[in-house]
Amino acid sequence: MSGCARHEPLLALSGVTRTFGGVRALSDVALEVLSGQVVGIIGPNGAGKTTTFNIITGAYSAGKGTVLLQGNNITAWASHQIVRAGISRTFQNIRLFADMTVWEHLLLAQPHDGFPLRRLLPARWANPAALRRAREVIEFFELGDVTDRIARSLPYGMQRRVELARAVTARPKLLLLDEPVAGMNHHEADDIRQMILRLRGDGMSILLIDHDMPFVMGLCDQLYVLDFGVMIAKGRPDQIRTNPAVLDAYLGRVA
């Protein structure tokens, strides 16, 4: 898109500060995701990880600071504009639409460029590209058996998978995953992780929040550590593992 600066980060946050009723949720947070990178945000509960996601996606406004997507300032954009610009996300608590089948979720989550009249006509014959994309995603996430099931009626692990699929359907430039394996059993968590690894293999840029250290350490190219709204460290996983401030704040002296 913006070809002039080749090393421009895909996503760049700088000076992002946000307070809730006098409490500083985020102080002067800076963060970068390069194209093709998998970046993790770790930190104790309440450190401001999800708040960071909410500011990136426009669900909250940043009090101060800027969010740049490929050099474009998206700080004040509406959520739907940010999604269309290329940032999709999943939620910490699953947010699937009641009464909708898996298929409908995927048809819904398509980018809305192109001829608007298409969206008013039955998708079955007016929008073959949308159908093709939905089928592609169903195949990738192995959702073929549950395509016509109501998404909310599926087992928890499957619901997470549908949510992930929904986020990927829009062909995002950057995927935000908010604790993608929270509340899952080992088997389900492994499934999701395999899918994240495959997405990474396909070159998807990912920013994720997760608590499972071995997983995060193994997956991410770059880690940021948040503590009480302050970014206390950043670096490669091996650097973070040995960073004294991080050990103090979060990991405990076990490494």
Binding site: A78, L108, L120
Partner: protein
């Protein structure tokens, strides 16, 4: 040959179907409107003005009134964006009453004395419109926009965060609903050949909502079932004399207790409809 009496009832069903569809469309985005009789009134007066005073043929007059009412609907929809649930219901109710009192004071159109001079239309004409709009809604129901409307209805925040422009969707639904209600109004005016502001009161708005809730609020044809029941049931209960409306109310409550989603729902409708090939 159908008796005039039943022909009249059938016309009522067609007009009520359109009114119910207008409520159905906004309800699909999770917005309950209790003011659609207001849009119906706008449509009735505007269409009548165009045919009687301006001498325009009925069909283009109806189309013009629908567009005008749709634009008004969009403007009403914007403030309604800030309101949800019961508050939105109250605001739209206020809008409906506002239109009615405006029409009462509109001396150019007869004020409280009403307006007449329209030529009578056939049931075929009414039902052509009703069926056309019903089909239009049913086609829309299979589109991506309709999925988006349902998403907005279920979880507005999540809808916005999967890339849906919730503002446009909600306001658009309001505008479309206002246009449908205006057509109902224009047809009403040319069926009864006389209109007065009292025709478009709160009770009429409630009838629209009742038809949708009774017939089924998750599929378009539910409005048809509801309109049929709402007009015909009190007729079939005539043997109960003065008690028939009480009996009708009892039936309504019983139905809601047993089948809250209305008579026709998606799974029942699917039995009659084609399934999407996998």
């Amino acid at each position: 040959m159908m008796s005039t009496y039943y022909a009249g009832l059938l016309a009522d069903v067609g007009i009520l179907l359109l009114g119910a569809l207008s409520v159905y469309v906004t309800l699909a985005t999770g917005q309950l409107s209790l003011g659609n009789a207001g849009f119906m009134g706008i449509g009735a007066y505007l269409t009548s003005y165009l045919t009687v005073t301006a001498g325009i043929p009925l069909t283009p007059a109806l189309a013009t009134a629908a567009v005008a009412s749709g634009v008004i609907g969009v403007f009403v929809g914007f403030p309604a964006l800030r309101l949800k649930g019961i508050y939105l219901a109250m605001a739209t109710l206020g809008f409906g009453e506002m239109v009615r009192s405006f029409l009462l004071n509109l001396d150019a159109m007869g004020g409280s004395g009403g307006f007449h001079g329209m030529h009578h239309i056939s049931n075929d004409y009414i039902w052509s419109w009703a069926v056309a709009i019903l089909l239009l809604v049913m086609i829309l129901e299979r589109s991506q926009v309709w999925l988006e409307m349902r998403a907005v209805c279920h979880d507005e925040t999540a809808a916005e965060l999967v890339g849906l422009d919730t503002t446009t969707i909600k306001v658009g639904a309001f505008g479309f609903a206002a246009a449908i209600a205006a057509i109902a109004g224009g047809l009403f005016a040319h069926h009864h050949v006389y209109i007065e502001p009292g025709n478009f009161n709160f009770e009429r708005s409630i009838d629209f909502v009742l038809a949708v809730i009774l017939g089924g609020s998750t599929v378009g044809p539910g409005a048809l079932v509801g309109a049929l029941l709402l007009v015909m049931l009190p007729e079939y209960l005539r043997f109960l004399a003065e008690w028939r409306f009480a009996a009708f109310g009892t039936l309504l409550i019983a139905m809601l207790l047993v089948r809250r989603q209305g008579i026709l729902d998606r799974s029942l409708f699917r039995v009659f409809a084609f399934r999407r090939p996998a």
